[in-house]
Amino acid sequence: MSSELLPRAALACVLASAALSVGCKYDENLPNADLKGTVRIPKELAAVALSDLEGNQWTIEDDARAIGPVYIGVYAGIDDTLYSYPHPEWGPVLDEEQGGDAYPWGGTSAGRFAWGCYEATVCKTLTGRYDSYQSVLDFFRDQVRSPITDDLGNEITSAEEYQERCFMIEDVTSDDELDLVGPLDFTDGGDYFEAEVEILHSQFTPGVSVWGFADMPSAAFGFSTCDVEGGGYHYYNSEDYYKGTNYRDVLNFPGKYITAGDLVSFDPIVVDDPEQEFVLELGYKYED
């Protein structure tokens, strides 16, 4: 043996390194897929009729800020006979008052309830609807005609004050963390408001149905899917309230929450290929 062995040794070292670093690919074989698509809401259906205690009535038109949370689920199938609109198939009916469980395989939303910086905003503000605090204040003052107030009833007029209040309530230091204002879910698509959505990690087999609905505001700008006694709890001096959040079975019993004015996807989307992007149109306005 001599030192001429060294190049061979080095080569062996390199080969061994390569073999180890490549390793073996590991596939968990999870029956899951990520589904991508677009939710479209016709602008004419997105108009929201509001009223106040004095009987005044008005309509918010062509304003995506008035769109409530959009819930999208992946289901085994859709049944046209359960309600006046297509609804996910039920499982066994154990409670006649709420129908059967639809057992969603996956789902997502476009917008969610956030944040109860003031008690007046509990279950009224959503993510993905506002690009600034001023936009929130303007919308509630000018469109909803119910300005945001503090616990003493004083109207909040300063965007900075609003931001500081939210930061203090939520213990955050940036708008990115708070996620109340920022990129908008819906963009203007001509006759439609359009939002890109992604259903992550859904159970998937070819032929699944994508179905959804938008919880549109009531005449008093309330939302049927929001639990005012749910979510985080705020307790500070005289303030004592829950910040509100959606009910946890919205996609299990959607029929329970769909109320007059809500928008429902009338044509279910059947997905055979998870790579196929879907377009879900909420083209049916439910009326009692």
């Binding site: 043996m1 001599s2 030192s3 062995l5 060294l6 040794a9 080095a10 062996a12 070292c13 061994a16 390194s17 180890l20 670093s21 390793g23 590991y26 968990e28 074989n29 999870l30 990520d34 819930y71 689920g73 499982g91 469980d101 639809a102 057992y103 969603p104 395989w105 996956g106 789902g107 997502t108 939303s109 917008g111 969610r112 309830f113 993510t127 993905g128 213990d171 955050v172 230091t173 940036s174 990115d176 963390e177 996620d179 879910d185 959505v197 992550l200 990690h201 159970q203 006694e229 749910g230 979510g231 985080g232 959040t245 959606n246 009910y247 946890r248 079975d249 919205v250 996609l251 299990n252």
Partner: protein, 909 residues
């Protein structure tokens, strides 16, 4: 030298004679080298003799035709080598340091002189092991005694490059619970948590080996490092040591502080972060039969009163560590060792998570354990030997709250007048409160935790085999059985009320709630491991070494009904090349690759057992106000966790593993001092992770919109997804000097980049929840940090009044603390967290400096020493991430480590 035929015969011998299973142990080192004449030509036939106070008798060997000699399996310590041959001067090399798992390689020059002349050479002690690629450090007894490590080897472990953290260190980019802890070669890693499980007697430690990267297969399969403590054996001279030390951290201002959400330091608190420590020990060691049987026995008492930041009550720690070992060598071919270590400890007031600890909530915790091992070393020939070790280990953790009493004479935990005394019933499933509630009587919580490990095994070594060079071959077989029984609960029929609603009325259920345990209160998990390794040190030429081998482990971890939760086969191939370009043992270039695995731990089946504890929460009228979901509508029960544990494991999970590479160089730049530079990369993949399987989330994984199975339960599942990973890259630049000329130093600067989706490998449940993977889609943290560690020891030349100086310096540039929030959906087992944008803040850099002075005073018999040690000289803040439940988020918390003064004394003869 032996031929290939000899190798085959020896292998057959292994299979026939040693059918037992064994865990490999590394407790010895090697002296080897070459005798040469003044012209550099090898001198064969030289009689080489080595002796040491740590070795029974002397060992002799004649150098071979190449002038080579080899003394393997030497107990660590200081040795003297003598080389003699007619026609040459007798050469003596004293002060040779033999370290665990290391080769002390010499070139002994034999001058032509008149026979009988003796030349003592004390220069140039070997500092580089040119046959090993292993990264890490060996801390000798002499060094540990001189540096200000607070008489804790764990405080000095950070001296090894790539080692950070506290008593359970993070080594080589791994989590704190991914290391292996060895005591005299016996695996004493906690089988449940993967952390250290025994407190050692400091006075019994001979050496501590910290292996961080590129270690041989015989050290095991862990993802992190190995910490190998080897104890003293006694000697032919009776030795007696008694010592006492007192440490006080209360005499300088303490600046404990907490930090606001944006990282701003709030005003220093007025909490009394009390710090007092008293240590006392005694050691006696010596011969039972000279050069045949030695013993060592030590006792160490640790008593401390230390309060955490923000906590009023100190934690009263009272530990008793007992160690004993007998080594019996009836013949030169056989050595038997019996070892036992126990560390019974009592801790009072265990609940320091809340400063508002009510007297009735005080408790006492007993913990500790015992390990006993029997070892047989069989030296079949100077180059063939085997070792067999059998080990039993039991550790326990008993935590029971102290019930209040109306007996004033007892002097503790008196009951309020309205309270009634309680007799704790540990067998009846009880009820407990939650949140800010406490019971109206007392707080009878208990937790009994027992862990066992049984190990048996053997290792077989054949050295100097000839086959296209020389081979040092080792094979080993090992087997472990571990068990974990845990029983806990809340006893009795106790009523709980909300602190904020004191007008409770149990009769009407107004403002009243309780939780009942509905399932079993005891749990047993167990695991089996069978492992084998083979490794070879191949030297095709004198200055080139290949170390290669592999280990295979079959690990089965079972839940409470015996079902295998983890059943994995672990292959761990390792390959290294070491090149000494000039063949003078003063330089080496190193390259290594290897795979390291994680075989799981008993904490995992805790969450995956078939039977769960089960609980049922009952609410009174006040609490029912907030019921909005999950009420069964039938009675006043609010939520119900069934007895059956619904958590699962995904079929086909694989073992977490790290693929590691390392390149580096070492060079002796001045006498006895070497500089080194290394680069290490480590790709850890498929770590254990848990996700939920049935929840349907909203757009950013914050709220739950539904459940795929229609239940309110959260179905957790263990996986080993590819996304559960860590990448780790480290560059080290360091120096190391062996003990010579009355001083020693070692220090390293490390630049580290690590990123991944996992900070720890879970011993608990929380790791990579599904929404972190699929909604954050990012790395959990990226850590770029600078670390400096250095230790220094110097004996002032003022004999016989020897003054020893020691210093330690640690610098860490701090970790990033990403901002985590509990999810809006509280789903139990600790809320699943999500990460928001970016990195929140960094912990402040941490700098620690310690100095120690020890003055020896010779007395008529033996010597007396006085010790003074100052720790935290600059009173650095020790930053830390902390979860603040009230705020539902992680923030930076921290404290000023108090300036501590230790005064002590020692007498020995």
């Amino acid at each position: 030298m032996h031929s290939l035929l000899s190798l085959a015969r020896m292998l057959l011998l292994v299979l026939l004679v040693l059918p037992g299973l064994a865990r490999a142990s590394v407790t010895a080192g090697t002296i080897k080298g070459t005798t040469v004449d003044e012209g550099g030509l090898p001198v064969p036939g030289v009689l080489v003799t080595i002796k040491s106070d740590n070795m029974m008798g002397a060992k002799q060997a004649d150098t071979d035709m190449e002038g080579r000699f080899n003394f393997p399996e030497l107990p660590p310590g200081i040795y003297e080598l003598t080389a003699e041959k007619a026609g040459f001067a007798k050469v003596v090399r004293p002060g040779l340091q033999v370290n665990i798992g290391r080769n002390t390689i010499l070139t002994v020059e034999m001058p032509l002189q008149e026979a009988g002349e003796e030349i003592v050479i004390e220069e140039s002690r070997p500092v580089i092991d040119t046959e090993s690629a292993q990264r890490g450090s060996v801390l000798t007894k002499e060094f540990l005694e001189r540096i200000p490590a607070g008489r804790s080897y764990q405080s000095a472990v950070q001296l090894a490059a790539g080692t950070t953290g506290g008593s359970n260190a993070n080594i080589g980019g791994a989590a704190y619970n991914e290391n292996t802890y060895l005591l005299d070669g016996v695996n004493i890693t906690d089988p449940v948590t993967g952390t250290f499980s025994l407190n050692f007697n400091f006075d019994a430690i001979e050496q501590v080996e910290i292996l961080t990267n590129a270690f041989d297969p015989e050290y095991g399969y862990n993802l992190g490092g190995a910490i190998n403590v080897v104890t003293e054996t006694g000697g032919n001279v009776l030795e007696f040591v008694v010592n006492a030390y007192y440490t006080n951290g209360n005499w300088a201002p303490k600046l404990d502080a907490r930090y606001a959400a944006d990282g701003t330091q709030l005003a220093p608190t007025d909490f009394d972060s009390r710090f007092e420590l008293f240590q006392a020990g005694v050691k006696i060691a010596g011969p039972i039969v000279r050069d045949r049987a030695w013993f060592i026995a030590t006792y160490q008492h640790d008593r401390s009163l230390i309060a955490n930041v923000g906590i009023d009550l100190p934690r009263d720690y009272d530990g008793h560590y007992v160690f004993g070992k007998i080594t019996f060598q009836p013949t030169a071919a056989h050595r038997f060792t019996l070892l036992a270590q126990a560390d019974p400890t009592t801790i009072s007031n265990t609940d320091q998570s809340d400063r508002f600890v009510y007297p009735e909530a005080q408790g006492q915790q007993t913990q500790g354990g015992v390990v006993a091992s029997a070892r047989w070393d069989w030296f079949i020939s100077p180059e063939i030997f085997a070792e067999t070790i059998a080990t039993v280990q039991k550790s326990y953790l008993e935590n029971a709250q102290v019930p209040c009493t109306h007996d004033e004479n007892l002097g503790y935990n008196p009951c309020e007048p309205t309270e009634y005394e309680y007799s704790v019933d540990y067998t009846t499933p009880g009820r407990f409160g939650s949140n800010n509630a406490f019971d109206s009587g007392n707080y009878p919580f208990f937790d009994f935790d027992d862990r066992w490990r049984y190990s048996l095994g053997t290792k077989f070594s054949m050295l100097q085999l000839s086959l296209l060079g020389t081979h040092d071959l080792k094979v080993g077989l090992s087997g472990d059985v571990t068990r974990w029984r845990r029983t806990f609960g809340y006893t009795g029929d106790v009523y709980y009320v909300d602190l904020n609603e004191l007008s409770y009325n149990p009769d009407t259920l107004q403002n009243y709630y309780w939780v009942e345990i509905t399932g079993p209160i005891s749990f047993l998990a167990r695991a089996e491991n069978i492992g084998a390794f083979v490794q070879d040190v191949y030297k095709p030429i004198d200055n080139l070494t290949f170390r290669f081998g592999t280990r295979y482990d079959r690990n089965i971890v079972r839940n409470d009904v015996g079902e295998p939760i983890i059943n994995v086969g672990l292959w761990g191939p390792r390959f290294s090349v070491i090149w000494d370009p000039w063949g003078n043992n003063k330089t080496k270039f190193v390259g290594s690759v290897g795979r390291f695995n994680d075989g799981g731990r008993l904490a995992v089946p805790y969450y995956l057992s078939q039977s769960g504890f089960g609980s049922k929460l009952f609410l009174g009228e006040y609490f029912r106000r907030s019921v909005s979901a999950h009420s069964n509508g039938l009675d006043n029960s609010y939520s119900y966790a069934p007895n059956e544990n619904l958590n699962t494991v995904l079929d086909g999970t694989i073992a977490p593993h790290s693929d590691e590479f390392s390149v580096g160089a070492e060079r002796e730049i001045i006498r006895d001092l070497a500089a080194n530079v290394y680069f290490t990369g480590k790709y850890t993949r498929n770590l254990y992770a848990f996700d939920e399987t049935n929840l349907v989330w909203d757009e950013d994984g914050y709220n739950v919109l539904g459940t795929s199975d229609g239940t309110a339960d959260v179905l957790q599942r263990m996986r080993t997804p590819s996304i559960a990973r860590r990448d780790y890259f480290r560059t080290d630049v360091g120096v190391q000097k062996v003990w010579s000329d009355r001083w020693q130093v070692q220090g390293t600067y490390s630049y580290t980049i690590s990123r991944g989706t996992m900070q720890t490998s879970p011993s608990g449940f929380l790791s990579v929840p599904q929404q972190v993977e699929y909604y954050v889609n990012g790395l959990l943290f990226t850590d770029v940090r600078h670390d400096v560690s250095a230790g220094f020891a110097w004996d002032l030349p003022n004999d016989p009044w020897t003054t020893q100086l020691g210093a330690l310096i640690f610098f860490e540039s701090g970790n990033p603390v990403s901002r985590y929030y509990a999810n809006g959906a509280e789903i139990g087992f600790g809320s699943i967290l999500r990460q928001t944008v970016g990195t929140y803040a960094r912990e402040e850099p941490y700098f620690e400096a310690r100095i120690k002075v020890e003055q020896e005073v010779p007395v008529r018999k033996g010597k007396l020493s006085a010790v003074a040690e100052l720790s935290n000289l600059i009173n650095a803040r020790q930053g830390d991430g902390a979860y603040v439940a009230s705020d539902n988020r992680w923030i930076i918390s921290g404290r000023q480590d108090p300036l501590e003064l230790t005064l002590g004394g020692r007498y020995e003869f």
